[in-house]
Amino acid sequence: MDTIFFLVLRRMRTPLLTLIVVYAIAMAGLALIPAQDAEGHPTAMSLFHAFYFVSYMSTTIGFGELPNAFTDAQRIWVALSVFSTVAVWIYAIGNLITLLQDSTLQRAIAERRFRTRVRRLADPFYLVCGYGQTGSALVRGLMDRHIQSVVIDVDPERINLLQLDNQREYVPSLCADARSPHALEAAGLKHPLCRGVVALTNVNEANLKIAIAAKLLHPEVKVICRADSHEIEANMASFGTDHIYDPFDAFAAYIAFSIQSPCQTLLIDWLSGRGGEELNEPRYPPRHGRWVICGYGRFGKAMYKHLKAQGFALSVIEAEPHKTGIPTEGVVHGRGTEAVTLEQAEIRQAVGLVAGTDQDADNLSIIMTALTLNPDLFVIARENHIQNQELFDRVGAQSIMNPSTIIAHRIRMRLITPLLSDLSRLARLRRDEAWASQLISRIIALVEGRKPYVWEVTIDATQAPAILEAERRRQAITLETLLRDPLERERLLPAIPLLLIQGQEQRPLPALDVPIGLGDRLLFCGREEARRRMDWVLCNIHALRYVTDGASPREGPVWRQLADWLGRLRDEKITTTKRME
């Protein structure tokens, strides 16, 4: 900003100098030329009056000839100086206005404002680099949970879009290249409350550079990156990037997992969705048979790898196999949009189709052609642009892969409910379908056709002060206590404890009689109002006392002392009566 200030001053130098000189000449002339007063006596115009006259002459306000009517000599001088002073005045003002509209100055002012806003942030925040489809979905997801984010994007249009979007909370945003450490620092990378940096730009190298800058400038910060290629992914992992998401690989792994265990997939889907959406039906991808993969690019390769690992027979269709490489099965040459190529790839005998080219029109055409040839196909579609959502919804694909949504989904889950990621990992390790389907039926009974709301509770001074207080009084708190309704303790809240972390131990679906202590972390799912009621129990000692033993005693500090004193009196009375007996 200082630079800009000096720049403005420097650029204002010539206009100001001309203004001063021209004013001085006009004033001097007026004051030197003999004037007349009202009666016609010769007099001189004072410098003050000359200044007064020139100021309203040059700004073309023109009040008339003051203080007296001018002589002809004065009028000649004024006629000359009108042109020069007016021109110079317009020149100076015009110059100043141009300077204010200067894009460099505007950007500097915007950056300065952004810096101050970021510096004043009082809540933990995440720095999101790249406000494309993924970034905007992530910022919205974070805002749903009242988590602050700060956005950098290189495209001014996207930043305008963010400012136009009617956001519930204020999101500081800056139009800058996130590759420059200066911009990252302005966005609060070194801010003590910066929890994490999320690099979501569509340029791999930019993401890499952001990750490096974040790790060097603020090593404690969590770094989450999107990477579209394996080399970049390995590179990022090599210097300790915390989480790297490759949308294609993530989706392929997800499909492979859903082939093995559809129930668990459904469970994780429900839990990681946004609470309140309608529940979706489970999908059962075919377990045996031939899959046809159209497009052997990044997505096609990921699907090929994961489906191959499941032991499926595969045929691959690719228009430019010399560029993408050829799998061991060989490749059918073509785009897959024509019936001939699809038939060459034995579409009539296949059970599944992956439409995975990077052109949405091609993918839609492939699906429509393939479904006329074989209506029983299980179709996986790659959706490259979110605008085409409606078309993909209608084309009849069972599973739609949109890279941005997948990444946003995963990162949101990782940032808001990290325990859910732990749970899904545990579930994946167990591979226990019965366990999952049992849990699914419990959730269905609980939430009435809507996706459950998932939340985390950490037993500490900020989230659960009442529990701390109870622990100080050596009152035992169990999980069941937390799940009781503070309005009516006989009733249980509509929530299911999913995971309990005590120290190193992870307990999925903990029993209700488990004691809860300081530092425990819990993951719940259920209806949203259950969370509000539970917060009440966690924060309010009266509510906690009521749900533990049904009593609602006097709990204010004065009342507590009074109760102690009364109790002591009663004890004394009892002992004296006993002694008397």
């Binding site: 200082d2 630079t3 000096f6 720049l7 001053l9 420097r10 650029r11 204002m12 130098r13 100001l16 100098l17 001063i20 000189v21 001085a24 004033m27 001097a28 004051a31 004072s46 410098l47 003050f48």
Partner: protein, 127 residues
């Protein structure tokens, strides 16, 4: 020779000399201090101030500061003059003249500092 430096030095020194010219004489005698002289002191000082705009060095900052001080004092002096002559019944009195001249004296000290700084800078440059 840098023509910009010539102009710069010229105006700074001219500001001081004109200022001195206005300042000398009996402090409360209006005949010793002329309005036109004050007018030119103000104009030249203004030009000197604007010339100092936009210099990012430490020396530039101090030079600008001294000029701003001089401007402040001179504008105050001309304001007092205008008010005394045009708005009061008594017009110019020796006591008003004394305060105008003392204000311009203050401005002169600021201008002296300016010139001294300019000389120091030049000497440092030569070395």
């Amino acid at each position: 020779m840098n023509p910009e430096k010539v102009v710069f030095g010229f105006f700074i020194v001219l500001a001081l000399t004109l200022n001195f010219g206005f300042f000398v004489g009996e402090i409360d005698n209006p005949n010793h201090h002329h309005a036109w002289e004050l007018f030119f002191v103000v104009i030249v000082n203004m030009i000197a101030t604007v010339l100092k705009f936009g210099d990012r060095t430490q020396m530039g900052a101090v030079l600008l500061a001294t000029s701003l001080v001089a401007m402040l004092q001179l504008l105050a002096a001309s304001l007092i003059w205008t008010i005394a002559v045009h708005t009061t019944e008594t017009g110019m009195t020796p006591s008003v003249m004394a305060s105008i001249v003392s204000l311009s004296g203050g401005a002169m000290i600021a201008n002296v500092v300016s010139v001294v700084l300019l000389v120091i800078e030049t000497v440092l440059l030569r070395r």
